[in-house]
C-alpha cells in the first residue's frame, strides 16, 4: 500500500495518458536523458534556452587555434525527430507543489518527474575583483562560446614575449583535467608561434588529474615555457584586478599579458532556484536514481550533482543521464531501480598529436559515488610517442562518438 500511495503522489498526469518527464538543460547530460526517456516511451519535454549547444570538450583546441568553434556546435533536430518536445526558453522557476516548471514567458510545463541538468554557473562572488565584467577582460572560457573566442583572440593579439597566466580553482569544478589540458595547448601555441612567451599556471591545488602524465609531458615538450605553481608554492589566486590584468596570491602579484581566470563554480541557477542545491552550491543526490536528497521527484544529473569520485565530465554526464532515465522510467512504473556502475573516460591533449587518458569505474556508496578499486587507470607513464599519437586520435574518435550518441 505504501507503494500505491507513493505512486499516487508522483503521477497526477497519468490519468490523461503517458507519464510526463521534463528535462531542463540540453547539454551532454540533459539531451542524453531526454532521448533515453523518450525511447522508454515517456512523454518528454526538453527545456533549453539556447537554440544550439556549444560543447566544451575540444574547446581548448579552439583556444589554441587547432579547431574551429563551429565544429563544437550541435542542434536538437534528432531529438525532435524522435519525439522529444524541445522548448527553447529559460526555465526560471520550479513549482514543487503543483509540479510545474515555469518558463521565461510565464508558461508552466507540468511534470510527473523532473530532471535537472543545468550544468554549472561561474561564481562571480567568490574571487574578489572577478565578476561578469571582469570576465570581458580576463576570460574564463569555461563555457564554450564567446568566451572561448575572446581568449583565442587575446592570445592571437599578444606579442611574442608575453606572459600568459591561467588560474585554476579548488575542487570541485567542471572538467578536472581541463585546466591542465588548456595550459598544455596554450603552451603548444606559444612554442610554435610565440616562442619567447611564458605561461604561468597558478593552481589552488597541489594534486590534480593525470598529474604525473601532464608533468612528464610538460618537462619534455615545454621546458622553461610552462611553469606550474601549486597551492604549496603559493599558487592559489585570492584576488584579481581586471583593469591591471593582475592576479594576486597570498604571496605576490602576477601581471599578465593575457589572463585566463577559471573561477570557482556552482550548480546552474535553476537547480538553486528549485531548492535542490545545498550550501556547497552543488546538488546532493541518491547515486542509484539521481533523485535529489532535498526535493523528492526532482533528479539532478551532470556537473550540477555532487558525484563524489565521479568527475564533472561530459562522459560522466552522458552515463549518468542513461542511468537516471532508466531509474525515472522504473520509478514511474513503481519498480525499484538497480544500483548502477558508471564508467568515465577522459582524454586530454598535451599537444595536437600527444594524448593521455584516465578511466574510472564508479559505484554508489552512501550519498556519493566511490571508485571501484582496481578498475580503470591512466595511460602508462613510459609509453612511446606512437601511443600518445594514437591516444590523440582516440580523443577525436571519442568526441565524434559521444556527440553522435547525444545529438546525432
Amino acid at each position: 500500500m505504501a507503494g500505491a500511495a507513493a505512486s499516487a503522489l508522483v503521477r497526477p498526469a497519468l490519468a490523461q495518458g503517458r507519464a510526463k518527464v521534463v528535462v531542463v538543460g540540453g547539454g551532454f547530460g540533459g539531451a542524453t536523458c531526454a532521448r533515453a526517456l523518450r525511447r522508454a516511451g515517456l512523454d518528454v519535454t526538453l527545456v533549453e534556452a539556447e537554440a544550439t549547444y556549444m560543447a566544451c570538450p575540444f574547446s581548448n583546441a579552439v583556444i589554441a587555434g587547432l579547431r574551429g568553434l563551429e565544429e563544437l556546435r550541435f542542434g536538437y533536430g534528432a531529438l525532435r525527430r524522435e519525439g522529444v518536445a524541445v522548448v527553447h526558453q529559460a526555465a526560471v522557476a520550479v513549482e514543487v507543489e503543483s509540479r510545474r516548471v515555469v518558463l521565461a514567458d510565464g508558461a508552466g510545463v507540468p511534470y510527473d518527474r523532473l530532471v535537472l541538468a543545468p550544468g554549472i554557473d561561474l561564481r562571480f562572488d567568490a574571487l574578489p575583483g572577478y565578476d561578469a565584467r571582469g570576465a570581458e577582460t580576463l576570460p574564463h572560457a569555461w563555457k564554450a562560446g564567446a568566451q572561448t573566442e575572446l581568449l583565442r583572440r587575446q592570445l592571437d593579439a599578444m606579442e611574442d614575449g608575453g606572459t600568459v597566466v591561467v588560474s585554476v580553482p579548488a575542487n570541485p569544478y567542471r572538467c578536472p583535467p581541463g585546466p591542465y589540458e588548456r595550459a598544455s595547448l596554450i603552451a603548444h601555441y606559444l612554442k610554435t608561434r610565440k616562442p619567447r612567451s611564458k605561461l604561468i599556471l597558478l593552481d589552488s591545488k597541489d594534486s590534480f588529474s593525470k598529474q604525473r602524465l601532464f608533468q612528464a609531458a610538460w618537462a619534455s615538450l615545454y621546458p622553461g615555457l610552462l611553469e606550474h605553481v601549486p597551492l604549496s608554492a603559493g599558487g592559489a589566486v585570492t584576488a584579481v584586478d581586471a583593469a591591471e590584468r593582475t592576479l594576486s596570491t597570498d604571496f605576490g602579484d602576477h601581471r599578465a599579458s593575457v589572463a585566463n581566470v577559471i573561477p570557482p563554480q556552482q550548480a546552474g541557477r535553476i537547480a538553486r532556484v528549485a531548492g535542490v542545491s545545498d550550501r556547497s552550491g552543488w546538488c546532493p543526490i541518491d547515486p542509484v536514481t539521481f533523485e535529489s536528497r532535498l526535493r523528492p521527484g526532482i533528479h539532478v544529473i551532470g556537473d550540477a550533482a555532487i558525484g563524489g569520485a565521479i568527475p564533472k565530465s561530459a562522459f560522466a554526464a552522458n552515463a549518468e543521464a542513461k542511468v537516471c532515465a532508466e531509474a525515472v522510467a522504473g520509478l514511474l512504473r513503481d519498480e525499484a531501480p538497480a544500483a548502477p556502475k558508471l564508467i568515465n573516460t577522459c582524454y586530454s591533449l598535451v599537444a595536437p598529436d600527444y594524448g593521455i587518458s584516465i578511466a574510472g569505474v564508479y559505484r554508489p556508496a552512501g550519498d556519493l559515488f566511490a571508485d571501484v578499486e582496481g578498475a580503470g587507470g591512466t595511460s602508462p607513464l613510459d609509453a612511446p610517442l606512437s601511443v600518445r599519437a594514437l591516444e590523440a586520435r582516440y580523443a577525436e574518435d571519442w568526441f565524434r562518438i559521444i556527440t553522435a550518441d547525444v545529438f546525432g
Partner: protein, 106 residues
C-alpha cells in the same frame, strides 16, 4: 631545507596592525596512516611555529597531527619599530628551520 613562503609588507606605518603570512612545505605525516605495505608511517610533523619581532616572540602556534600538509598561518603584529621578523618552525626528527625578513616602519 623545506621551502618556505613568507609575505611581510615592505613598509608599515608606526602603530599599524599588519598581516604576516607564512607557509612551509611539510608533509605533516600524522603517524596513523598505513603505507602501501600496510605499515604505519611514523609521525613526522611540525610541532611549533613562532614569530619573533626584534627578538621578542609576538606569535606562536602549536601544531598537531590533524593539521594539513604545508601549514599556512596568517597572523598580525603591531608595527613598533624597524627591524627583523624571524620565523621558526620546529618539529619531529629534530626538524628546525628559521627564516628572517626585514620590516621597515615609517
Amino acid at each position: 631545507m623545506a621551502r618556505v613562503l613568507i609575505n611581510v609588507p615592505r613598509t608599515v606605518r608606526r602603530g599599524e596592525v599588519f598581516e604576516i603570512r607564512a607557509l612551509i612545505q611539510h608533509t605533516m605525516e600524522t603517524g596513523y596512516r598505513p603505507d602501501a605495505g600496510g605499515e604505519v608511517v611514523p609521525r613526522d610533523i611540525i610541532r611549533r611555529f613562532a614569530c619573533a619581532y626584534n627578538g621578542e616572540e609576538v606569535f606562536a602556534a602549536e601544531l598537531s597531527p590533524a593539521v594539513a600538509a604545508n601549514p599556512f598561518l596568517v597572523f598580525t603584529a603591531v608595527a613598533a619599530e624597524s627591524g627583523t621578523l624571524s620565523f621558526t618552525w620546529t618539529g619531529d626528527n629534530g626538524f628546525s628551520q628559521t627564516e628572517t625578513r626585514p620590516v621597515a616602519v615609517e
